[in-house]
Symmetry: C2
Subunit: 322 residues, 2 copies
């Protein structure tokens, strides 16, 4: 299942509104086929793994319950699996989509296939967070990225921020972009830094996500867009407007402090991605603007550390909503 | 040697100007005696461990090269060891004190004792950092403590900071006080918070260190002292004045942002002790004031992460000067 989960990450940021599922077919403990939901959402991971493979009597690991509903773009995965006749299907997470939600596993069991559920479920929810957030909340999954010094500054008082973090952390941030359907920045950041927000990693350039600018006034946005001669930006009037973005399940908010605070204030941040350089800055620009915190008690119990590692001399931390 | 190093930490903050040494006597791999430099600096760790023990043919582990110089307070440890006639003496770090510096080990070797040096040297330098800093730089070892939110804030805009971190992190900070000879805060912090700066851990209350207030004007300090009716505070006119403090080898700077910046600006911070709560604060008070950083390039390459662990929901990090 760990291998299936790794495969599911491949589709992250490219399969919306379909879930980025991973699938492994194994026989006698040996992997005989791999599949993942392909860019655009088809084929599904199970169909991808089953393609050209005899899976009779095999074990099939899938990160999400196989879909029970046909669509014009392909057959239901549950039917495909029944036809393939594996001995066992192992599932990480149940599909919350009401068209499947238990119906997929029921169909497998009815066909005499042994079904094991609940294997590495938490990791599956993390790997396919965009799909689960969309299902539960009707909006994309939002990651807020902050790259700071040890004392929480993102730039010197004059705005200079090249560079707080080192090349490894910056490369990782580009991978995070590649795993997103869309990147959002505030109007001030565009005006000040004119960021490209593209993926500058060899071979991953085509993975540059959609780009949006948060700006409460459309006229301000339009002016900015005109000046920068950049027609690919979308306009976001408010953080809440992310619910209307099409084919966006993974959203990455890259700053600045005002845009970050707007998403925090709207309670629309699911995941904090922190890069911390081993430097002190002193007086500078803070990572996060005012989001209306009235007392410290209210700030507690919201975030849980789920991952941390070194990236060169910098430390990366990932926090999720508790 | 790990056990000897643990013992050396017991004396930290209590043995200045003597080094806080740890010593273990072992025979056939079994520990037969333990010693550490006692509060006030005597007896030395080796004398403490040898007291009432037959060490002939044994292995003696000591975190610092045994002293070669007699004093009116006791004999030289090298002589004590020669008399005890162990088979082997294992030493973590050489004594930089010019009265010993190699003379201790030479005396042991002349007496036919096998001497092994350089075992866990880095950890020994860390454990006895106050002594080594005093020897190398003629001033105490300085730890700067910062307790912040994930976005680097130490308080809300109105100054309220109870609490950023949880009880485990706060208890750990009190242990750090107990391991210090002196705690320093800025004048503003005293005026605003009237901190006790005592050790509020059951059984460790007597370990409350000396307390000093950083204030460039003595009259301001005197006024503050009078108002607070607190005769135990010492006055520090500037960070550089720490060199003149007597019997202070471990100094803990607890803030606020101005005092912290003054020590950073004077390049007098050897160790950063960071507690980070999993909370966001937004606009608030930053941990560190202006210390004159001109460009980001100058900030890099100064700090190295040497320890990190969770304390309840908070993360502790220790950085040392690189």
């Amino acid at each position: 299942m760990a291998a299936a989960l790794a495969l599911s990450w491949r589709g992250r940021g490219r399969t919306a509104p379909n879930p980025n599922v991973g699938c492994i077919i194994a026989r006698d403990g040996q992997i005989v086929s791999r599949g993942w939901t392909r860019p655009g959402g088809r084929p599904h991971a199970e169909a991808d793994a089953l393609d050209g493979v005899d899976a009779r009597g095999a074990d099939i690991y899938t990160t999400l319950e196989p879909c029970a509903h046909k669509s014009e773009r392909g057959p239901a995965c549950a039917d495909l699996l029944v036809k393939a006749a594996p001995a066992r299907v192992i599932i990480a997470a149940q599909d919350p989509d009401t068209r499947t939600n238990g119906a997929g596993t029921a169909r497998l069991r009815d066909a005499g296939i042994t079904v094991t559920e609940g294997v590495r479920t938490e990791e599956a929810h993390r790997a396919m967070a965009g799909f689960f957030t969309r299902q539960a909340k009707g909006r994309p999954h939002v990651t807020l990225k902050l790259a700071t010094s040890l004392d929480g500054q993102v730039a010197l008082p004059d705005g200079s921020s090249q560079w707080i973090t080192g090349p490894e952390a910056r490369a990782h941030a580009h991978v995070e972009r590649a795993l997103s359907d869309m990147v959002v920045v505030g109007r001030g950041t565009v005006a000040a830094d004119q960021p490209q927000l593209d993926v500058r990693l060899t071979g991953l350039e085509p993975r540059t996500p959609g780009r949006a600018v948060l700006s409460s006034e459309y006229s301000n946005f339009a002016q900015l867009q005109l000046k920068a001669d950049n027609p690919v930006w979308q306009h976001l009037e408010s953080p809440e407007a992310i619910a209307d973005l099409e084919n966006v399940d993974y959203l990455l908010v890259e700053g600045g402090a005002g845009a970050a605070a707007a998403f925090v204030a709207a309670d629309l941040v699911d995941r904090l991605l922190l890069y911390r350089a081993p430097i002190l800055v002193g007086t500078g620009l803070s990572a996060l603007g005012d989001f209306g915190l009235a007392q410290l008690d209210d700030a507690h119990g919201q975030w849980r550390l789920v991952e941390t590692r070194m990236l060169g001399v910098d430390r990366m931390e990932v926090y999720e909503k508790a």
